[in-house]
Structure formats: C-alpha cells, structure tokens
C-alpha cells in the first residue's frame, strides 16, 4: 500500500469511525446546551448565529477573539460525512444492518434539508387589515430603499437592497444612479437600530441633523425584527445643491421631494418579496375562551387571487395555506391603536425543503423500528437461552 493511499485510507477510516460519531454527538449536545442558555439573554437570532449556524464558536478574551469550539455547521457537516462514510458506505450490507442503514440515510437527508433551509429558504410576513390585499410579503430582518415617482404613469419602483448600504456606517457614503432617475442618490450613515427624534441638547445624533430631526442610535435588539434601521440620503442633481433627507424604518410615510418638475418618494422599508398570487383579508376572527383572556382560536378568512381567479381560503392555527411553493401561516394579530380595527399577520415561508424533514422522519421511524426490532428479537432469543421461559428466578440470589 503506498503512503498516500495509506493516508487516504486512514482519513477514510477516521471519517467513518464510531469514535468520531461519538465525539460529534457530544459536541452537538454541548452546542445545543450552550446555544439554549445563550438565547435567554441574547435572543434566538444571535444564538443561532453564534452556535448553530456558525463554522466556529468564538469567545472574546481580553479583546482577542479565539475559536473554542467547532460551530453547528461544522459539527453537523462532519456528522453528515461520518454518517455517509461510517454509517452507510462502510457498513457490511445485509439484513442485519438494514434498519441502521435506513435510519442513517434519514438523518443525512434531514441534515441536507437543514442546509437547504439555511441557505435557500425565505421567511417573511404580510400584515393585512380586513379588506386589504397584498401580492408580496416582507422580510422582517432585512431592509431596502424604494424610490418611485409619485403619481407616475408606470408605477415602477427602483429598489436598493440592504447589502448595498449596510456597510455605510459613520461617514462612509455611496452614490446610486439609475438611467431612469433624473438624480443621483448618496447614501451614508446607516444605523441598524435607530429612533428618529427632534434633535435635543442631551443626545448626539448619528450623522447630520435634517430639518431638526436626527437619528439616535440604540443598541441592536436581540430579536432583529424589532430593530428599526435609519439611513441618511442626499439627492444630487446637476446644477442643484444637494438636498439631505433622513430615512427611518419606523415611519409608514416616505420622504418626498420634487425634481425635474416631478414628485418623488423614497422610503426605507422591510425587504419585499413578490408572491405569485395576491391575498385579500376578508374577515379576521379572534376568539377567547369564555370569561378569560386566553386565545382559543385565530382565523383569517382570505381570498387567494391569481390570474383573475378568486378562491376563498381559511387560514387558522395549525391550518396554513400552501400554494405555489409558499406557505402562509396564522402568526399574530393586532389592533390599530387609533381605530381599534383588527389586523392579521400571516407568516410566509418559501422553503424548497419544506416537506423533506417530514419524509425523513417517517423513513427514520421505519429504520429505527427495524433496527431495534431485530435487537429485541436477538435479546429475547438470548434471554430464552439464559433461562427457560416463564421461570421465576426470584430465589436465585
């Protein structure tokens, strides 16, 4: 055996070893414990980022970041390899290992579903008052800047995604141009979580003050959906002085200005994804258990509109609407503080691997039943050999 081949074989054996399987299971258990405790103070988003969705877990020691553990991605990736090599490829095929093989295949498939969800799934929400409809959903964790002409004939929106301005903290700035726009936009001073307030003497604004208002930077919330981003913008056009504006995610109204005799609107809002159909909320019902404030049921009676065809659908707890790769779930509800009108919030998921874990679950159940059924049968045969059936060994001390 050549040296290279020997090394390859050693690596192959190591990757498929039971020892590695045990270490990885232990490491994953440790990550689960740490990640669970971490989210009590830092929230789920950061726990996922630090422990479950990371390659390495870092700690800060006196200003120096050091990796102390492999992260969830590393451990689960290695576990998938270990299962493939040791739990499937290196197994001596036969009926005795059929259950083990099936179970391991199911776990690998489940991990694969996790990868697909991690990198390809999109999650968002759509909030509707009764009578309102939408053909898009919003991603609560990401922002975008939309620009459109007020009363424009084509209704086209130009969108700048968060990835293109999220690094513009402090004095950094970036110019955005578009052939269809008669002006350039200069973005700067991005604040991940801010409050737009009238500038007072007791606080420093992040970036310039515009029309008496400034952005007060606040600590990012452990739950990113609760962050309200802020951004400074300047409208620049030939022969005109630059006009500064302030964009803030906490307001429903856009910033408007006139340029070239036309009115324009610009708004910092949650990133939007189009849906292949529109949803109209016809009726929202919230029922409480009698005499209590405990929710008994939430129901959104909606109409799904697609290509001129309308279809009545009921979305309630544990009964989502699944259509065209999207799944819409009854998520929350709220009441307008002024009008008292109820609105319904539907969670929207687009996940290519939506049903994969469920399939893996059934496969795994079959595998485990076969594997442990065989083991039980062997135990019973052994047990029968050890003592005659029905004999009470109580007195054999």
């Amino acid at each position: 055996m050549s040296g290279r081949r020997g090394i390859a074989l050693a690596i192959w054996n190591f990757l498929g070893s039971m020892w590695l399987a045990c270490v990885l299971l232990l490491l994953l258990a440790v990550l689960v414990v740490l990640g669970t405790l971490y989210q009590t103070d830092h929230g789920l988003y950061w726990a996922k980022a630090r422990y479950f969705g990371s390659w390495l877990v870092w700690i800060d020691l006196g200003g120096v970041s050091l990796p102390v553990l492999p992260g969830g991605v590393t451990v689960m990736g290695l576990l998938a390899i270990n299962l493939l090599v040791g739990g499937i490829l290196r197994l001596r095929m036969g009926w005795r290992v059929a259950g083990v093989l099936i179970s391991h295949l199911a776990v690998v498939f489940m991990l694969l579903a996790g990868v697909v969800t991690q990198y390809f799934a999109v999650e968002g929400q759509v909030a509707l008052y009764e009578g309102e409809q939408a053909d898009y959903f919003e991603d609560g964790e990401h922002w975008e800047v939309a620009i459109w002409e007020v009363g424009g004939s084509d209704g086209t929106e130009r969108v700048v995604e968060q990835e293109l301005f999220q690094d513009l903290e402090g004095s950094a700035e970036r110019v955005f141009t578009a052939p269809s726009l008669p002006f350039n936009l200069v973005f700067s001073g991005y604040v991940p979580n801010a409050r737009a307030l009238p500038k007072g003497p007791n606080w420093e604004a992040a970036g310039p003050v515009v029309d008496g208002y400034g952005l007060l930077a606040v600590d990012p919330d452990p739950e990113p959906r609760r962050n309200l981003a802020g951004l400074h913008v300047r409208v620049a056009s030939a022969g005109e002085p630059e006009r500064p504006g302030l964009l803030w995610g906490g307001t429903r109204l856009p910033w408007t200005f006139r340029e070239d005799g036309r009115s324009w609107a610009i708004k910092l809002r949650h990133a939007r994804y189009p849906m292949p159909f529109a949803i109209r909320l016809d009726d929202f019902r919230m029922e409480e258990h009698p005499g209590t404030s405990m929710a008994k049921a939430y129901e959104s009676h909606v109409t799904k509109i697609e290509g001129g065809v309308s279809e009545k659908v009921l979305i309630e707890m544990n009964e989502p609407l699944r259509a065209e790769g999207l799944a819409l779930f009854q998520s929350q509800w709220g009441r307008d503080p002024q009008s008292g009108e109820l609105y319904s919030v539907l969670s929207v998921w687009r996940n290519p691997s939506d049903k994969w874990p469920e399939a893996a679950m059934w496969v795994m159940l079959v595998g485990m039943l076969v594997a442990f059924g065989q083991r039980l049968s062997r135990f019973m045969r052994w047990s029968a050999l050890v003592k005659p059936a029905g004999q009470d060994r109580g007195g054999e001390a």
Binding site: M18, W19, A21, C22, L25, L26, A29, V32, V33, T36, L37, Q39, T40, L44, A47, K48, F52, G114, T117, E123, E288, H289, P290, G291, T292, M294, A295, K296, A297, Y298, M317, N318, P320, A327, F329, S331, V348, W349, N351, P357, E358, M361, M364, L365, M368, L369, F372, R375, L376, F379, M380, S383, V386, K387, G390, D392, R393, G394, E396, A397
Partner: protein, 657 residues
C-alpha cells in the same frame, strides 16, 4: 364612572347619569341576616351544590371542583383545618364564603410559606410557615397589593421567593374577596321610602331587594321619567338607590359565573355572575325571564340560609333549572364524571397502593421464594397502575383531549406508563427486579404528581385548563406530546435501573451473580433504545407540528433543543456502547446522566421563560431540579469511584495470586 354604571338602558341611563355622579358610593343596607352559620350544611344541600355547574377558567366545571381548586390554591390542601381543631371540606368552605362571608373571613385559609412575607408588610407572623385568616391579613392588605404590584414588574425568572410569595398572597386575597363578594348583590336592601311612585310599584313597601327591582325595570324607568325635579326626597332616594346598586354590582363583579347565558347573548358562550345577570336585566335584554327567576331564587336562598328546610326547598328547583339550561347548551356532559373523579381521587389512591406494593416488595426481598408475596406485588402494582390509568382516562373524557396536555399530565402519564412498562419488562426478565422498580417508580411518580398538582393549581387555577389556540389540535397532542412523554418515561426507567446497577455493585447486591447484572444491563440498554425511538419520533413529529403552526420544522427553540438533547445523548449512549467505548459501568453512568438530560428537557427549559413554547413555562421548581441533578452527579461520582476501587482490588488480588 360611566363604565361602572349599572344601568345601560338608553332612557334610564340618561336619566340617572347626572344623578349618579352625585350619588353616595354606597347607601344600600345589607339585609339583616345572620353572619354565622349555626348548623352544618346538610348532605343534601352539599350534594345539590356539588353538581351545580359553574364557568371558570374558560370551561364549565362542577362547583365541587371549583371549591376544591380554590381552597387548594389558598390553603395548600382541599381540607381546611380550623383553629378549633375541626376540619372543613372544600365545598362547605365555599358555601360559607358565599353565604356567610363574615364567618369565612375568620377561617385561617391563607397559607403563607414564609414569615418574611408578613414581616415585610408589618404583620406579626405566627411561625415560619402558618395559616392566616382574611381578618388577620386585612390590616396589611394595601401593603401586600402595593408590594405585589411592584414585584410583578420583575421578570418571573428573576424574582426572589419572597417576591413570588407576596405576589401570590395578593392574588389569593383578591380571589377570596371575589368569592365572598360574589353574592353581595343578593344581600342588599334599598330604602325607597321617599319615593312614593316607586313604592307604589312594590306594594307600598319601604325597602326592596335587587330581585324585586329587576322584576319591574320598565316601571322604574317610567318612575324616573316622571320624577319631579323639585321632589327633593324622591331625588335623594334615587341617588341613594343608584349608588347602592353600583356598589352592589361592583362587589359581585368578579363572583362566580353560575348562570348559563340565554340564546343569542353576547359575548357568546360566556356565563354570567350575579352582577352580570342583574346588569343585563337593567339593560332590558330580551329573553331574560328564566335568568330573572334564577336571580330571584338565589336571593331567596340568601334569605333562607338559616332555615335548612326552606333553603333546600328553594335550592333544588333552582339547581335543576340551571342544570337543565346547561344541559341544553351541551355544557353539562361531563359534570357527573368530574364529580366522580373528585370523589374517587384515583391518583391519591394509586399513591397509597403503590406504597403498599413497595412494602410488599420489601417483604418479597426477605422471602424471595414466596409465591404469595409475588402475587401480592403483581396485584398491588397492577391495581395502582389501573387506578392511575382510570384517572387519566376520566380526565381525557372530561376534557375531550388526549392524556397529556399540561406538565401535571406528564407526571401522571409518565408514572402510569412507566409502571406498566416495567411490568412488561418483568414478563421478559422474571427476576422481580422490574416489578420492584415499578412499585418504586409508581410511588415516587404519584407523590410528585400529588405535590405538583398544588403548583399547577396555584399557577393556572386548574389542572384541566383550557388550551391555547396553538395547542388546539388533538391529533398533534396525541401523537407528538404522548410520544415524546413516553420517550421521557423510557429514559427515566432506564436511569432507575441504572441506579440499581450502581448501588447493587456498591453494596454487594447479588455479589457474584454476573448473570443478574448482565440482565440488568440489558434492561438499562433496552430501555434507552426504547426511549430513543420514542424521543426521536416525538421530537420530529413536534417539528412537523411546528411546520404547520409556526412555518418551520426546526427553530432551535429551548423546548425543541431539550428534546434534541435527549435524542443526541441517547444516540451517544447507543454508539458508545456499540462501539465498545463504554461497558456496563459506563452505560450505567451515562444513563444516570441521561436522567439529568431528560429532566432538563422536561422541566429545566421551562424555567428559562424564552421561546415559543410559552404555554409550558413554569417557575419555583429550580431548587428541586438542582437538588436532583446534584444527587445524580454524586451517584455518578460514587459509581466511578467504586469502579476504580474494584479495579484496584482486582489488580491487588491478581497480584497476590
């Protein structure tokens, strides 16, 4: 003020509004009635009240259940010990609260766990833990509520025991006040002497009760409309009447919801208190005739409470009428069954029989060949498990839910299925070990269930509470929750058997009988494998549920992580055992550590108070959990130390040879 105004009828409301603002707060007089009960409640009265339905916590239950739950919450037991040495059951206590509130105020029904709670509000404590009456606590009522409100702002997981107990005491006082105030409107008498028009409506009487007033709201409305502004005496009577009614309504505002609603009432399905009913009558809602009859009968009951014969004569038709209405609404289906469950108390019975089984087991160890004792163990464990199963089944039927909905249910279910599982294992192994363990498992489990019942009732007011919208799926409750709970059970049974292995080795049980230990190891390993199958499937089925309710299969929520941790740990045990990295001792150690993992998942993550499984959050059990974990770590240390000792002893013996 308008919000608490008793009249909602348009004309009446307008006419009384201005007057009401000027009205004294409470000018009605309590009817002259005895403040103390002179004879015990008759069995017939108690039986009749026991079957009376009442809506509480979102469900309709018998008054018998409500009495037990309320007294358990306040007193820590369903039986109240009086200072005279007598004891009072829950239902008579509740009836005293309703009909003889002055007497009930003197009952020491408030359990205060720590004297520091009372010292902090300036009261003199009796002992470290003691029972107090409402009268004794009354001087510090405001202080207790003030402190409780301040402590409520602190997140539950950060509160000290003193703060938690102060909040509870404040809540207990409120609950008690709701009970004693519930029938207050029935006791009020209103002087109408200065208002001849109103007197004429009521046969010239000078004083009337609320029922009489409600019987002719139209006449009252007319009398108000015709009231002469210059008639000072009548105006004063009206003001006093209005203020008195308001005060009476306020007192009975949060009383018991004992009246089933009429057809078409809003909000639908919500039962009425005495105040609700009276308010609706003043609003002249249609279809109130039957309800007004109930009100009138109840007022008569109040009048006749010291006349046992007359009391029963009014009570029986009133109860029959209310029950008939509840039956017509389909809300009386399981009341009889629930009373039977209360009366039989199968879980307490199961605890006693499991303890007997344990005693017989101990005798069985002394006389291992006795067939009689063996039969006795089988019989007692079987009976106890059947009693527990019966109780669980009755709860399923009453709630129309699968067996496991709350944390309390998990304790009952794990205990019953664990004992059953061990009985099945005994059939395979027949070394009396699994059967012995079944009696221990059952006794410990039922003891915990009885203890945890108090915690569950204190925190949620019931052990059969209504479920949140997200949990409203019998399919998922049945498959996911039951499966994962069986997974917990398997792991705990394995851990119990592992303890026997460890202590058996330590104390020389069946020394030299390696076959016994091999069988014991097989039992531990088999239970771990059993637990792994159910834990894995239960966890993944929970993911499937999460996918239809929250939109994602897996979200790294603490409860999900707890379940995953069990799967990972048991998979680790399995692979370490198959890979030869651990032998019998290692298996025992890892299985005992598995008990820590299981209890962390079962109880521990609920203490973190984060995540989507908020319906399972709990508090106050951390010290017990930490004690258990500490004990298990000591067991592991002892096992490893003993292993080292045995190895050295073996080496020394080999060397000597």
């Amino acid at each position: 003020m308008i919000g608490s105004f008793p009249f909602r009828g348009a004309a009446l409301r307008l006419a009384l509004l201005v007057l009401c603002l000027l009205a004294p707060q409470a000018t009605a007089q309590e009817a002259p009635s005895p403040a103390r009960r002179t004879a015990p409640w008759s069995e017939e009265v108690l039986r009749t009240f026991a079957r009376l339905p009442v809506q509480d916590g979102g469900r309709v239950k018998p008054l018998d259940s409500l009495a037990g739950l309320k007294l358990l919450t306040l007193n820590g037991s369903r039986r109240l010990k009086l200072e005279s040495g007598e004891s009072l059951k829950a239902l008579p206590w509740l009836l005293d609260c309703l009909f003889f509130p002055e007497q009930a105020k003197g009952y020491p029904c408030f359990r205060v766990e720590s004297d520091a709670v009372l010292t902090a509000v300036g009261l003199e404590a009796k002992e470290k833990r003691a029972w107090y009456s409402y009268e004794e606590l009354l001087p510090a009522r405001a202080e207790i509520h003030h402190n409780g409100a301040a402590y409520s702002d602190i997140p539950a997981k950060d509160r000290s025991s003193l703060q938690q107990q102060t909040i509870k005491l404040g809540s207990d006082l409120l609950q008690f006040e709701e009970l004693i105030g519930g029938f207050e409107p029935l006791r009020q008498r209103f002087a109408i002497v200065g208002w001849p028009a109103l007197q004429a409506l009521h046969d010239g009487r000078t004083e009337i009760g609320l029922a009489e007033l409600l019987s002719n709201v139209e006449g009252l409305q007319r009398a108000i409309g015709e009231l002469d502004e210059g008639d000072e005496a009548a105006q004063r009577t009206l003001r006093e009447l209005s203020g008195g009614i308001r005060a009476a309504f306020f007192a009975g505002e949060r009383g018991l919801a004992i009246f089933p609603p009429r057809d078409g009432a809003i909000p639908p399905g919500e039962w009425w208190t005495v105040s609700d009913l009276a308010r609706r009558a003043f609003d002249r809602e249609p279809g109130m005739e039957q309800a007004l009859g109930w009100f009138s009968s109840l007022e008569e009951l109040e009048d006749r409470k010291s006349d046992p014969g007359g009391f029963q004569a009014v009570l029986t038709p009133l109860a029959d009428s209310i029950i008939a209405r509840a039956t017509a609404l389909g809300e009386y289906r399981h009341i009889g069954l629930e009373i039977a469950l209360n009366r039989s108390d199968p879980f307490y019975g199961a605890l006693l029989v499991y303890l007997i089984a344990f005693l017989v087991t101990v005798f069985g160890w002394v006389a291992p060949r006795s067939k009689l004792l063996l039969g006795g163990i089988w019989g007692s464990v079987g009976i106890a498990t059947a009693m527990a199963a019966l109780g669980i089944t009755l709860r399923c039927i009453i709630r129309e839910r699968p067996p496991v909905v709350s944390l309390y249910d998990t304790v009952l279910f794990i205990t019953a299925t664990g004992a059953l599982f061990l009985m099945v294992l005994e059939l395979f192994t027949r070394i009396r070990l699994a059967l012995s363990l079944a009696s221990i498992f059952g006794a410990v489990g039922m003891f915990l269930a009885v203890r945890y019942e108090l915690h569950e009732v204190t925190s949620s007011g019931d052990t059969m509470s209504s479920v949140l919208a997200v949990l409203d799926s019998n399919h998922y409750l049945l498959v996911h929750v039951v499966t994962i709970t069986i997974g917990y059970m398997g792991g705990l049974v394995a851990a119990l058997a592992a303890h026997v292995w460890i202590f058996g080795r330590l104390f020389g049980l069946r020394r030299g009988d390696e076959e016994f230990y091999r069988l014991l190891t097989s039992l531990v390993f088999g239970a771990v494998c059993f637990s792994l199958v159910f834990s894995f499937f239960g966890t993944l089925y929970g993911g499937k549920w999460g996918n239809v309710s929250w939109g994602r299969f897996w979200g790294w929520d603490p409860k999900e992580n707890g379940a995953l941790l069990i799967c990972l740990w048991e998979a680790l045990i399995l692979h370490a055992r198959i890979g030869g990295f651990i032998r019998d001792r290692g298996l025992a150690v890892m299985t005992v550590l598995g008990a820590i993992v299981i209890t962390a998942s079962w109880w521990g993550v609920n203490l973190l108070s984060v995540g989507l499984h908020s319906y399972g959050f709990t508090s106050g059990i951390a010290p017990y959990l930490l004690t258990l974990w500490g004990f298990e770590l000591v067991v592991v240390g002892v096992c490893l130390g003993n292993g080292l000792y045995e190895r050295r002893a073996l080496a020394a013996s080999a060397e000597a040879r």
